[in-house]
């Protein structure tokens, strides 16, 4: 599906640019996009280095293990394929906690670390395992409690009540996360049956 979307973007972009008689915009956009991709990765470096360092301290202190024991029932339900006491669980839980607190730049390194641990369990290294798909589903629908960025924009635009969307955001995010879990479960069962 990713292949199709990628091809669709490029092809339709080409056709529209050509039809507008403005093919120059195509090459310009290609190099712009490449630059954006690299820029984002470079801005990720500092965040990744910082949080992976802190996470190692938490891991060595046994904090991640504590967190995963505390939230074990949730993990057993969402990730039935992960063995008990696997190190990925602590990372998954800290990823989810960071998401909830709206700490986006902490959530990403923890999520990536969790993916790395899940990759160790993965049989086919180029294909996503069901557990990886579940972790991704939780992150794309992102369980946010405090949408910090948008509150700041509302404040900057003289909102009478910049926080009034916290409640609606919470409800919306709960519904989309529930949808993600339900749909993911459905595909997960299908995938596990086939294996």
């Amino acid at each position: 599906m990713v292949n199709l979307i990628w091809l669709f973007f490029i092809l339709i972009g080409f056709i529209v640019a050509a039809a507008h008689g403005n093919i120059a915009v195509f090459s310009e956009a290609v190099f712009d996009g490449a630059k954006t991709g690299v820029t984002i990765c470079f801005s990720l470096i500092s965040v990744l280095v910082l949080w992976l360092g802190l996470m190692r301290i938490a891991e060595d202190a046994g904090l991640l293990k504590k967190l995963s024991i505390l939230l074990r029932p949730i993990v057993r339900f969402l990730f039935p394929t992960i063995p008990k006491d696997h190190p990925s669980i602590g990372y998954i839980m800290s990823n989810m906690s960071a998401n909830m607190l709206g700490l986006n730049n902490a959530a990403t390194p923890m999520g990536i670390k969790a993916m790395e641990e899940l990759q160790k369990l993965n049989v086919n290294k180029e294909t996503a395992s069901p557990a990886m798909c579940t972790l991704l589903a939780l992150n794309t629908s992102s369980i946010t409690i405090i949408p910090t960025t948008i509150i700041a924009i509302r404040m900057a635009n003289q909102s009478m009540d910049p926080f009034e969307i916290v409640g609606t955001t919470l409800m919306a995010t709960a519904i989309s996360t529930t949808a993600a879990i339900v749909v993911d479960k459905w595909y997960q069962r299908k995938a596990l049956r086939n294996e």
Binding site: G13, L50, R56, T140
Partner: protein, 177 residues
């Protein structure tokens, strides 16, 4: 509640960092050495994501800059208008899963034009806050560990985005209506 929420977002990171360090210190962990040990993987991970993110950003950039995205939004507008919800927010349904920066820019535009406290401003704010950029998250998370075959992950993400968008509109109409 406002005070509490601002306080949480202000205090969360400092408290987490200090708590982890102090706790580890009392558990006799060599904190600085541990930090360095974990941190050294950060650079490699970021570099590993580059090909994935460049590939995805190129496609998205072409799609937007060529005007193709505007056409797509134009096609969908009449279908969506039908339901009787402010049609100005509909482009967000397509922008949000594809581009984080793009949808944030669009939301900011809507807030500036219609005001943060209008129905349009509230719906846009809620859409922006309640979900993440599916395509970006997929590219970064799977890219970091070298996953190429994404199986059903994208479908799950996009379906939950659609459900979330529909839910946002219904919730905002009920709460602020």
């Amino acid at each position: 509640m406002y005070g509490l929420i601002t306080a949480i977002s202000l205090w969360a990171i400092p408290v987490i960092i200090v708590f982890i360090s102090i706790y580890a210190f009392f558990k006799k962990v060599p904190v600085y050495e541990s930090f360095i040990d974990g941190a050294k993987d950060g650079f490699d991970t970021a570099i590993k994501i580059i090909p994935h993110l460049v590939g995805m950003m190129v496609a998205i950039s072409v799609f937007r800059a060529s005007g193709a995205m505007d056409y797509m939004l134009g096609f969908l507008q009449p279908v969506l208008n039908f339901i009787g919800v402010p049609s100005e927010v509909f482009p967000l349904a397509i922008l949000r899963p594809i581009t984080g920066a793009g949808s944030l820019a669009f939301t900011t535009d809507l807030i500036q034009e219609y005001g943060p406290d209008s129905m349009i401003g509230r719906i846009a704010s809620t859409v922006q806050g309640s979900t993440d950029t599916t395509l970006y998250v997929l590219t970064v998370y799977f890219g970091a560990v070298g996953i190429r075959k994404t199986r059903y992950a994208l479908k799950v993400g996009l379906i939950s985005d659609m459900v979330g968008f529909a839910a946002t509109i219904i919730i905002c109409m009920l709460v602020f209506g």
